[in-house]
């Protein structure tokens, strides 16, 4: 028996010689976590069964350590204008207390990273890049800050990020809040945030996540992380909450049709090919990095009438497509799978793949070369899984 594919959680990101540890590392060790290198960090891959963790997030709640994610603060009178210049979205238009998904692109339009931007105050933003990309994003933001009245501060090293995700997440978190905070946090809409005291610890609480479920992400100082983890674990005991690792995070996000940097997104990919054209605000005022190239791509119909596009594939057989497998049309290679696995929730294989735009319509029948044998797949609309509201 030999494995011929890398695990889904490994990316094309250079690993540092000695992986970094989060403030919760000792907690994970005591829980018997299986660890994996991810973006230069040693992170829990799973604690027991990744399938059980996946299902628990869909049916109850999971507790995640996401402290490998970056946290960059942009503060100052020109913070909004600066982010409008540095990123592809119109970040100055975010209301205080709201968040927005965005991209940071190179001058040629290639994606440097995807990230979430929170507006904490009028002149105070929090930018959250991916773990492996954080240093690159910080460097790019610092460079792009020239000429703006803004301070860019990389707070990644001192910040921990915990996430509670699943249908019971809100009840678990709210049980740790004062009546007043519980009312505010409970009323938060998706992609909103508020400061709150959670089990006695000051936290930035955001109703965001990467699982397709309702849930919260909590940004705290490192020294608070172990106590907050313990409080959440205890509060969730009666609701079935369990600690969850990156393995199920990957299967959850794929079911939810969310892209992963290093798989679906890279410097070689245009936002329009990735189906993220709506994130690019060509109509905003002023210049921004990548504007000329992205305007050209839009004018050329990249991802809509020309080139390739990211699609969802549903397996018609039992065998799953995996990252880098070749997509076939009538036996000829036409594209490449970027992520794929057997969907625990849906019970059939699912995959994301880049295919020519004329083969991107839902219902299109394609094959994937599964180690020499073509297996039938069909293009389906994304997301694969949408929670009941």
């Amino acid at each position: 028996m030999s494995q011929d594919t890398p695990e889904n959680t490994s990316q094309d990101i250079p690993e540092t010689a000695s992986p970094r540890l989060t403030a919760l590392h000792a907690v994970h060790e005591s829980l018997g976590a299986h660890f994996t290198d991810f973006g230069g960090w040693q992170m829990p891959l799973k604690y027991g069964s990744e399938l059980a963790e996946h299902r628990t997030v869909r049916e109850a709640a999971g507790l995640f350590d996401l402290s490998h994610m970056g946290e960059v603060r942009a503060t100052g009178p020109a913070a909004g204008a600066f982010l409008d210049h540095a990123l592809v979205g119109r970040l100055s238009a975010i209301a205080v207390g709201k968040a927005k998904y965005s991209l940071i692109c190179a001058a040629d339009g290639g994606i440097i990273d995807d990230l979430i931007v929170y507006r904490l105050a009028e002149d105070d933003y929090l930018v959250v890049p991916n773990a492996g990309n954080a240093p690159i994003v910080v460097a790019a933001l610092e460079e792009r800050a020239a000429g703006f009245d803004v301070t860019v501060h990389d707070a990644s090293a001192e910040t921990s990020l915990l996430a509670v995700q699943g249908p019971h997440a809100a009840a678990i978190l709210l049980s740790l809040l004062s009546t007043e905070d519980a009312a505010r946090v409970g009323a938060l809409k998706y992609y909103s945030c508020a400061r709150a005291t959670v089990a006695g610890h000051r936290a930035l609480v955001a109703r965001t996540g990467y699982t397709g479920e309702d849930g919260f992400e909590l940004f705290v100082d490192n020294d608070v992380a172990p106590a907050l983890w313990a409080a959440l674990a205890e509060a969730g005991q009666g609701s079935g909450l369990i600690p969850c690792g990156l393995a199920c995070r990957d299967s959850l996000r794929l079911e939810a049709g969310m892209p992963l940097y290093g798989n679906e997104l890279s410097r070689e990919v245009s936002p329009y090919e990735a189906g993220l054209g709506g994130v690019v605000a060509l109509g905003k005022e002023g210049d921004f990095v990548g504007r000329t190239a992205l305007q050209q791509q839009r004018d050329d119909g990249v991802g809509t009438t020309s080139g390739r596009r990211l699609v969802g594939l549903q397996g018609l057989g039992r065998r799953a497509a995996r990252s880098h497998y070749t997509v076939l049309r009538d036996g000829s290679p036409v594209g490449e799978v970027t992520s794929g696995l057997p969907s625990p929730t849906l019970g059939h294989p699912i995959a994301l793949a880049y295919v020519p735009v004329d083969l991107s319509e839902p219902g299109t029948r394609l094959d994937v070369d599964l180690r020499g044998r073509p297996e039938p797949f069909e293009v389906v609309a994304l997301p694969f899984y949408r929670r009941q509201r």
């Binding site: 494995q3 011929d4 594919t5 890398p6 069964s49 799953a320 180690r371």
Partner: protein, 127 residues
């Protein structure tokens, strides 16, 4: 810690072969299962298939990845474990017992290791 069962024969590719029964029985080791994660689908050779030791003869699909299964012996497949096809999680739960894969009427063993030799290369504990 993953166990290595005494008395079985082991391939470098992490299959086990039980020659104490006839026909010989084939499965995958606990160490392999640990590396694979949750097994969700199996492609196994059908009864009557002629196997050549060392050649790929099936696939093990886990949530994480897919692995080839190699024949630990030359011979003919006699019986496939229908229970494990129906419920691949048996491979995780009981790799040396209910999670066996198929039996083979053996004409020759492949290049195999003793439990002690397999243990020495892969770690684990003898049980």
């Amino acid at each position: 810690m993953s166990t290595v069962k005494a008395g079985l024969r082991y391939s470098e590719d992490h299959e086990w072969l039980d020659t104490a029964v006839t026909p010989a029985r084939v499965g995958v080791t606990a160490i392999a299962v640990e590396a694979l994660g949750d097994v969700v689908h199996l492609e196994l050779p059908e009864a009557g298939t002629e196997l050549a030791a060392g050649d790929p003869c099936g696939e093990i699909e886990s949530t994480k990845s897919v692995s080839d299964l190699y024949a630990p012996a030359t011979g003919t497949v006699v019986e496939v474990n229908q229970a494990v096809l129906d419920d691949p999680a048996l491979v995780n739960e009981d790799p040396y017992g209910a999670g066996w894969l198929f039996t083979v009427e053996m004409s020759a063993e492949g290049t195999l290791l003793s439990a002690e030799e397999y243990l020495e290369r892969n770690g684990g504990e003898l049980a």
